[in-house]
Symmetry: C2
Subunit: 240 residues, 2 copies
């Protein structure tokens, strides 16, 4: 098995994706929100790149069945129901509903990797289940941290590093790593006993603290809260 991770979120060449399991990670906070909203009963999630697309998509369904969620630069979007904080996505708000989500980094990342064979939403909350799915797939793995406004993101890379660490410890076939995937694993090993420290070091983590979302850092650093594996297919994320 070959595992690669791309450190900057420019759209990868399609030949890096075809026949691979692709894992999208936006720890603070889109993929953590996606996983959490599914645990609360959201029926499906439609990740979209722009606010305009989100409003247009919402009009296609009866209003009572749809939740509009997301942020731009960590601020609420006028006219939306929810922001991008996992704790807003309670069962009361999302159970049985279609969640239309647009965020600065994470939701566009799913579209950037659409040529992938199987596209998963990964986070610390479901990292063990994601590792298990990668092991069962018998495919090479491509990890796509969605980054921080086009830049390298520490927290996304640590989650990628944890996935690499879990897979290499359990895979019985030989695992080949790239310079980037070795490095992500080493960074994870440095912070594995204190993910919250890393989140507070990161630029994006810092900004969330300054905007009053410090609780989200602790929430998103929790490991294996759920066995859910969200799969992105034909524009929609559903539980596998």
């Amino acid at each position: 098995m070959h595992i690669d991770i791309q450190f900057l979120p420019s759209p990868p060449h399609a030949n890096l994706l075809s026949d691979r399991v692709v894992v999208v990670m936006d720890i603070l906070r889109a993929t953590s929100v996606i996983v959490h909203a599914m645990t609360q009963g959201a029926s499906e999630i439609i990740p979209l790149a722009t606010v305009e697309e989100a409003f247009r998509m919402a009009k296609a369904f009866p209003r009572a069945f749809v939740i509009l969620g997301g942020e731009r630069k960590n601020k609420e979007i006028p006219g939306f129901d929810l922001g991008n904080s996992p704790k807003e996505y309670t069962a009361e708000r999302v159970k049985g509903k279609k969640l239309i989500l647009t965020t600065t980094n994470g939701t566009r990342a799913f579209h950037a990797v659409s040529p992938g064979k199987e596209i998963l939403a990964g986070s610390f909350l479901n990292i063990g289940a994601i590792a298990q799915r990668c092991l069962e797939s018998n495919r090479d793995v491509f990890i796509f941290p969605s980054g921080d406004e086009g830049n390298f993101s520490l927290e996304d890379t640590l989650c990628g590093g944890m996935l690499i660490d879990l897979i290499t410890k359990k895979e019985t076939r030989q695992v080949s790593l790239t310079d980037a995937s070795y490095s992500a694993q080493i960074l994870y090993q440095r912070f594995k006993d204190n993910l919250s420290e890393a989140f507070h070091l990161s630029r994006h983590g810092n900004e969330l603290v300054n905007r009053g979302f410090e609780d989200d850092l602790a929430y998103c650093a929790q490991i294996d809260m759920t066995p859910l594996v969200p799969v992105f297919r034909e524009g929609v994320i559903r539980a596998k």
Copy 2:
């Protein structure tokens, strides 16, 4: 002082470079060759992106004053005088001569960062002098690892991490780091007592070993062999 490092070698936006000291790193082996050739008395070095440009440039000077050096995918270039192994660049071959150099990754990197205020060639061989120059410049620093055929390079990033480590320990003003520069420093700290181990882990290092250049890994891992600071200005590298 702000220090950033870019993990993939796509040309950076000019606004990331202007007013900054930019340090280009291609440890295996272009910037190590540049530094070494200068210690052996090369008068100046002209880094060019293509083999065609190198032949054209060479014709502009009397043949006896010029050395053509470089590689493509770690193989010799037909018609060139030297390859890309530091040990070939002896005083006997290069003293007083103009070295025209073209390599797969490193030489094009200088042109990718040409909007930088001051552009330096960094390597482990001269890392202390590069750190000193950055400290004296009173400017922000942008580190540009030239990568491995467009991909993240472990050895270049470790050298960037060592530069960050040296600067943060000596700078008296506050130093701000990005997620990427924190990560490069952590990776350097992991391997600082055994750079050779890291070079053997890296894809490019492995390929050099397989092609019979293992000695180059040990040579390029030596720290502070020289106080030379090569500066790239108007297409030419000269000692500061």
